[in-house]
């Protein structure tokens, strides 16, 4: 079966982002970018399905300008077979991303689409569920285990109270949580090999979709900073401060 893995180029998770002085957005100039960590877990899961003989082909897709080809090459180096870049320099709402992915799903007919549960920039947690609704597929979100079993896939989900397992008809959508797997490092030979794997570029405008923005970003501000606290010397002093100064314990 074919597995489609949509991925996103985002700020590296180790970088602390800063807000622009004019409060128009965050400042991404000269900031280190990387594949979204949850998307990397999605690629790893798809590659493992292929290594286990369950999947026959892994296709990575990303939506953005030419720079996201870097992350597609990363996915290819991790083991994806080919890649598609949907070319646009527009900042899209998740709904538009899901609509573009719906077109790719119609064309490629994957049995499984694996996405990250959220991107660490916009923190929306929407695209996988929206794609599932648009394609009429079932979804297993926040997955910590994925087991394909004939015509169904069992997905164990991380929920507020613990874990929940659901059975989904294929084709289906899975979104990854942190503990689904630990992504591998790409080896140097695989990074070299990835440069020769096919990467198709398709302009977003060719899909015939209305991509007019549905939201306006009015402003972006830094969060309220916490006042610097104090270092106490002993547990006695800590308990005294919590009782008499902060008054949070009695």
């Amino acid at each position: 079966m074919k597995v489609l893995v949509p991925i996103k180029r985002v700020i590296d998770y180790n970088v602390k982002v800063r807000v622009k002085a004019d409060n128009s957005n965050v400042d991404l100039a000269n900031v280190k970018m990387a594949i979204n960590p949850f998307c990397e877990i999605a690629v790893e899961e798809a590659v493992r399905l292929k290594e286990a003989g369950t999947a026959t082909e892994v296709i990575a897709v990303s939506i953005g300008d030419k720079s996201c080809q870097e992350q597609l090459r990363t996915a290819l180096a991790l083991g994806a077979d080919r890649a598609i870049q949907i070319d646009t320099d527009q900042n899209l709402d998740s709904l538009h991303v899901a609509k573009l992915l719906q077109k790719v799903v119609e064309e490629e007919q994957p049995q499984l689409v694996i996405l990250g549960k959220q991107s660490i920039d916009s923190d929306n947690n929407q695209t996988g569920q929206m794609l599932a609704a648009l394609t009429g597929m079932a979804q297993g979100t926040f997955a910590s285990a994925v087991n394909v079993d004939g015509e169904k896939v069992n997905v164990t989900r991380e929920v507020d109270g613990g874990l929940q397992t659901v059975a989904l008809n294929l084709p289906a959508i899975v979104t990854t949580d942190l503990r689904l797997n630990e992504p591998r490092y790409a080896s140097l030979p695989n990074i070299m090999k990835a440069k020769r794997k096919p990467l198709a570029v398709k302009p977003a405008a060719d899909f015939g979709l209305d991509l007019t923005a549905r939201t306006t970003l009015l402003k972006v501000t830094p969060p309220a900073e916490r006042q610097a606290g104090i270092v106490v010397e002993s547990i006695d002093e800590l308990v005294e401060k919590l009782k008499n100064e902060a008054k949070v314990i009695s």
Binding site: V26, T141, F142, I230
Partner: protein
């Protein structure tokens, strides 16, 4: 103008966070209807009818909604959405799971995880793990919104709303529930506790988390963990506090053996008072802590327990 609020529950109890989501809905304006979708969930409907500010409780009691599968619940909410301007759910795992489906079926954008309401179409939400705060205006005619409960104060529960039973059974037939493995704990919910004590990688193993028990007992605290502690297998996933785990804002948060990665801070930095116990004086957790103590947690924890 009217608002449909999805009630979070487990068929027995209405989750307290729903009261905060109703508070957010009040700020959007209009009559508020609370939807209880579940199975054998009369107790929840009764509790929902007492929530202040709610004009009507809609109860969809059907086997198709027993486990609140996203495929089935989203069809129900989308059908009901025709009568509302705002469709609102709590940003917990159930709401996060089905609400984007509703938005896509209605062909509108979703505004996730709001922490404030500026007006009926403008909302405030954290982005980049809370390192930036965005003010976003929705241009859609219908607004689909999830609410971060820590951003709002719960409404009271001495109301008396009309309860209306819905005859609905939207079953997409594409998914089924297999089983739940839920953690059983006598302690308060992480999201609802006024005191939270969390352990990190510094705890070294799962057994050492028992060192937090005595303190949690004395303070009536919930016990949480950093991602590092969950990834290492010390404790289960439902204890994780952080950007992609639970978001908490208790009166007192005690971070033990947690270095303070930005992803962890995103889940707790709105706590009223933060205490950090760490043997590394350079750990970033001290930059957000009101009270820090540089000490070996294996000495500090027993002493703290004995002195509370």
């Amino acid at each position: 103008m009217s608002v449909l609020v999805f009630a979070e529950h487990d068929n027995n109890q209405l989750k307290a966070d729903t009261l905060k989501t109703v508070a957010a809905a009040q700020a959007m304006g209009g009559e508020i209807h609370l939807l209880v979708a579940g199975h054998n969930c009369q107790a929840v409907a009764d509790a929902a009818s007492k929530v202040n500010g709610v004009a009507k409780v809609l109860v969809a009691d059907n086997a198709a909604y027993e486990h609140q599968l996203a495929e089935n619940v989203s069809l129900l909410v989308t059908e009901l959405a025709a009568d509302y301007d705002h469709i609102v759910a709590t940003a917990l795992t159930t709401g996060k799971n089905f609400m984007p489906r509703v938005a896509a079926l209605l062909d509108v954008a979703q505004i996730s995880d709001i922490i404030a309401v500026e007006s009926s179409d403008t909302f405030v939400r954290p982005i980049y793990a809370g390192n930036a705060i965005a003010t976003v205006q929705s241009l859609d005619s219908k607004k689909v919104i999830t609410v971060r409960p820590t951003g709002f104060d719960a409404v009271a529960t001495d109301g008396s709303a009309e309860v209306v039973a819905l005859d609905k059974a939207t079953d997409a037939g594409t998914s089924s529930h297999v089983n739940d493995e839920l953690s059983v704990s006598e302690r308060p919910d992480l999201g609802a506790a006024s005191v939270v004590i969390s352990g990190g990688r510094g705890m070294q193993n799962g057994d050492n988390f028992k060192l937090l028990d005595g303190i949690a007992d004395k303070l009536g605290a919930a016990i949480g963990a950093s991602r590092a502690a969950v990834d290492a297998g010390f404790v289960p996933n439902d204890m994780q506090v952080g950007q992609t785990g639970k978001i908490v804002a208790p009166d007192l948060y005690i971070a033990v053996g947690i270095s303070g990665a930005i992803q962890h801070l995103a889940g707790m930095k709105d706590s009223k008072i933060i205490v950090a116990i760490n043997k590394d004086a350079e750990a970033p957790i001290f930059q957000v802590a009101d009270y820090g103590i540089v000490a070996d947690l294996f000495d500090a924890l027993p002493e703290l327990e004995s002195k509370l």
